[in-house]
């Protein structure tokens, strides 16, 4: 049975390449490109995936206050907290271009979350990282880094 991935990222373009690569590797993929749909998904609008891929910098829309989202810079951090309220242990990969340590320091990482820089993760590498993460979580095997 194929594994499922939800990617939350307002970008298309290169995100579409991630989606293509995952589908080539026979993952089921859903791409959510706005905050409203992401929050609806967390609340049960759609089945729970095996793993989430989450961007940090996104327009906050009407659902998250501009200030709370750091003027868009940390929208994904708000989403991550909401996601964790619903799914405390689901694997998450934060895939972001944000490098500012003050912003990244706001991210309450846990054992089921890892962070990757978009510029360094090409589509086939994301496939590999997801496979590693899911294997690690399932078997509690050796560290994947």
């Amino acid at each position: 049975m194929s594994k499922s991935v939800v990617i939350i990222d307002d970008e298309h373009g290169t995100t579409d390449l991630y989606v293509k690569a995952l589908r080539m590797a026979e993952f089921e993929v859903r791409h959510i490109d706005n905050v409203k749909d992401a929050l609806a998904h967390f609340q049960g609008d759609g089945s729970t995936p095996d793993i989430y891929i989450l961007d940090l910098m996104m327009p906050p829309g009407d659902e998250i206050k501009l200030e709370e989202s750091g003027f868009g810079l940390s929208t994904g951090i708000v989403l991550y907290r909401r996601l964790r309220e619903k799914h405390p242990n689901l694997p998450v990969i934060i895939l972001t271009s944000v490098s500012n340590p003050e912003i990244l320091g706001l991210l309450p990482l846990d054992d089921n979350t890892r962070r990757e820089a978009k510029i360094d993760v090409m589509p086939f590498e994301l496939v590999e990282k997801i496979k590693e993460t899911l294997t690690y979580d399932r078997d509690n095997a050796a560290s994947f880094n």
């Binding site: 290169t14 810079l73 944000v98 510029i119 090409m122 590999e128």
Partner: protein
């Protein structure tokens, strides 16, 4: 000759579209494989297109947008949230002068830290090939060792650059804050009766 400072959404979009068409065709033909330098070029162009999408607001005059965009493109995506806050009245010459001065100052900063990676094409390609092979069919022991060596080399090379980026971003964000304050003050003055 210095690089052109003014870039339009159309010109950068055309560059992105041209590269995108080439990348997608190769991506599908090679079943998801692509090289690292092409990926970086594609992502940089995409960020620049998105930058124009964000700043092309009716509240900003065209001339001011060009002034702002010419230097803020260099900031990368960390600049976007700050630009959401720009709701300026119609531009006048004094505003333009402020923007121009700030642009030149920022340009000087970025000329110093232009991110050039000396990570060679050949090593990068070797690493990508091994990662792809590991994904598709696994690696033998020698290949696993070699991949770890390459990753360590890559990290050793990129880590200092990452630190430079972080420092530069901090400096940039402060300069953007200062510029926004200065332009806002100029606009308030210029629109008073």
């Amino acid at each position: 000759m210095p690089p052109a400072l003014i870039e339009t959404r159309e010109s950068v979009r055309a560059k992105f579209d041209a590269l995108w068409g080439q990348v997608v065709a190769e991506f599908e033909a090679k079943r998801g494989k692509m090289d690292r330098l092409t990926w970086r070029r594609l992502r940089t162009l995409e960020a620049r297109v998105r930058f124009h999408d964000v700043i092309e607001s009716p509240a900003l005059s065209r001339a001011l947008i060009n002034d702002l965009s010419s230097w803020a493109i260099s900031c990368g995506r960390d600049a976007f949230p700050y630009l959401y806050r720009l709701e300026l009245p119609p531009h006048d010459m004094r505003v333009r002068e402020v923007a121009k001065a700030a642009r030149l100052e920022l340009r000087a900063v970025f000329d110093e830290i232009e991110p050039e990676t000396a990570w060679t094409d050949a090593l990068s390609q070797e690493q990508d090939d091994l990662i792809m092979k590991r994904l598709e069919q696994g690696l033998n022991d020698d290949e696993t060792v070699r991949l770890e060596e390459l990753k360590a080399l890559h990290e050793a090379h990129l880590a200092p650059l990452d630190r430079q980026f972080v420092d530069a971003n901090k400096k940039h964000i402060q300069r953007i804050e200062d510029l926004i304050a200065e332009i806002t003050a100029e606009c308030a003055t210029s629109t008073q009766p």
